[in-house]
Amino acid sequence: MSPRHPATNNQGAGVKRALRGCTAILAAGLIAFGAAACGDDEEAAGGTTGGSTTAAPVDFSVALLSPGSSNDGSWGEASYDGVEAAATELGVTDLGHAENLLTPDEYTQQGAAYAKEGANLVLMANGSVPQSVIKVATDYPDAVVCGAAMEIPAADLPANACTYDPEQQEGAFSAGYLAALTSKTGKLGVVAGFAFPALTRQVEGFTLGARYANPDIQVQQVYINSWTDTAAAKAAAQAQYAAGVDIVFSATDSATQGIFAAAQAGDDRYVIASYFDSHEQAPDVVLTSVLYNLEGVTKEMIRRGTAGEIKPEGYSFGLDFGVGELAPFYELDSVVPAEAKTKLAEVIADIESGTVKVPDEKVLGVEGSGASFDLAALTAS
């Protein structure tokens, strides 16, 4: 099976055109003028949402709060694309998106501000702020507040709140499986953002998947405590490559660029990116990207919101919803052994059918679980 390629990134061409139109403007610092002029150009060049048909407006507004930005080439951008797609295809109002929010109090304040403004649905795309979801939902009963990639016990979940969860460990597991079968050195690395359950499950899922392919594989894990610190990500990846790692799995956002740069500094070094098909950024080192179809998941949650289907519960989206697919290998296709491709396809089928049971966040959300989990339990019925 060659992994399918979901349409996550189709904005390159239009932006390049827009950029060319502005080349002369920035240099002398004519900032406000330049920004306005380019904004217009971009619209004229076809915008970013592709050729979807525009739906009639409905009386439903959505606000998005995310730890990244709408242009981070990663998690934040994928979430934002989902809102944009919903605005075009479902006709909902995009009330705005608050970017680069990290702490619970930031989510609480911004979420409250949108709810006060009359948002029907407030999405908090950060797994580390369940308390903000609860707080805003409790304070603003007219809004529906949903948090991504988190778990809230049913007893604590207000009637107008929900969680939605891409089961990321499954995709990370298959990426780890592929990496272990592709690695020539028997050493893999992980460079991750912050250590919290929704992210740790990706790190540990990758580790477990690698062990499932090769029980003797070595996996080095580093958390850099940043989504954006490119220099830290580069240094972390450099250290791993220097120690003999040949494939690094990235679980951070735009800081990932630093990992690509570290891979480019040597031969036979590869990166498996996350959240967004990063092939264009570094075609010579990006082996594949784990795509969590966050755009589709976000859009689906908004659709359920408009239909009044959201109940106070946790919704999960797995491989069957396209969450955890791997992007194509593109020109690095020859790097992946044919046997690895066949086995990968089998494992993905096994996960989808339930023959292989990748543990959930309760297990893999704990640091070190990927290295210690009993491999036999994966296939136990």
Partner: protein, 303 residues
């Protein structure tokens, strides 16, 4: 722990300190002249943005770096106008947000990752340990190390240096001696911002060639601390920056350090900041230039 790891830690540390060193050297000049340039993080971000933009446009990494110089000068003039002419409170966090806005407009979407190659200095790079640590770095790192003695000479061995130091210590006396304190401070802030902006650009040049929101990750504020730690002396500032860079590099090797690998990652991540704080506390009491951060009103000027 073997020699490879030690070399890797120090070599990475030197690379990591480069943008901070540029920024700290620039900041030292402004503070010596009596201006506390808090806009350092924003100016770095602008340098990073401009460099990334030039690279995206296909103009090459060096064009991006050089472009940061006039941009730094323009920002310096703008900030000097606020601080020197208007006597404004010296906090300009707004320009950080501006880079995010500009990024949205100019650089949205993905770019191709690229970075400056390391240059091995012939002969010197063959020296065991030191050669591999110091002499296999990107060119902007060498330039930063060369800039330190130049800034030292500028501050301590030239008339200009003497004048701006007097403007930072006793501006009233400087004025009495027939010098224009505002003009000195303007010049110092412009030079300062050029170095800081170049530092921001160097961050892009040695990491990935691409801009991301808040890519500087607080390095401007670290530079502020390093200036105090280095007591406004460019040579000591190199030491302070190195301390920060190496302690940051150490965390990424923690896995290979045997017994140390059992420490929680948070401990490693906070290490550079703890080291900086401890160093500032332990260092002998340091004193800001007397008039640093104090707006100056020329005699006879109406307020």
């Amino acid at each position: 722990m073997n020699s490879t790891i030690v070399i890797s830690v120090f070599a990475t540390g030197i690379a990591l300190m480069t943008p901070v060193l540029w920024a700290a050297l620039g900041e030292a000049i402004a503070e010596r002249a009596g201006v506390l340039n808090i806009g350092i993080e924003g100016v770095m971000l602008f340098g990073a943005l401009v460099c990334a933009w030039a690279i995206r446009e296909g103009a090459g990494i060096w064009t991006g770096l050089l472009l940061a110089i006039p941009v730094g000068a323009v920002l310096g003039l703008a900030l000097a106008y606020l601080w020197v002419s208007r006597g404004a409170d010296q906090i300009v966090s707004g320009i950080i947000g501006a880079t995010s806005l500009l990024f949205d407009e100019f650089l949205k979407g993905v770019g191709v990752v690229t970075s400056l190659d390391e240059i091995s200095i012939p002969l010197l790079s063959d020296i065991p340990w030191i050669g591999e640590i110091v002499f296999q770095q990107p060119s902007v790192t060498y330039l930063a190390l060369l800039a330190a003695p130049l800034v030292f000479l500028l501050l301590n061995r030239t008339w200009f240096g003497l004048y701006i130091r007097s403007a930072g210590e006793k501006p009233r006396a400087t004025e009495t001696a027939g010098l224009s304190v505002p003009a000195l401070r303007y010049t110092a802030v412009v030079v300062s911002c050029v170095l800081i902006c170049f530092g921001g650009a160097s961050l892009i040049a040695i990491t990935s060639g691409g801009f991301v929101t808040n890519v500087t990750a607080g390095q401007g504020f670290v530079a502020l601390a390093i200036v105090v730690l280095g007591r406004w002396n460019p040579f000591l500032i190199v030491g302070g920056a190195l301390l920060f860079g190496v302690s940051q590099a150490l965390q990424f090797q923690a896995q290979s350090l045997g017994f140390l690998s059992s420490l929680p990652p948070e401990a490693w991540l906070s290490l550079p900041y703890l080291v900086t704080i401890v160093a500032v506390v332990v260092a002998k009491s340091s004193r800001y230039p007397n008039a640093c951060g104090v707006p100056f009103t020329p005699a006879g000027a109406a307020r």
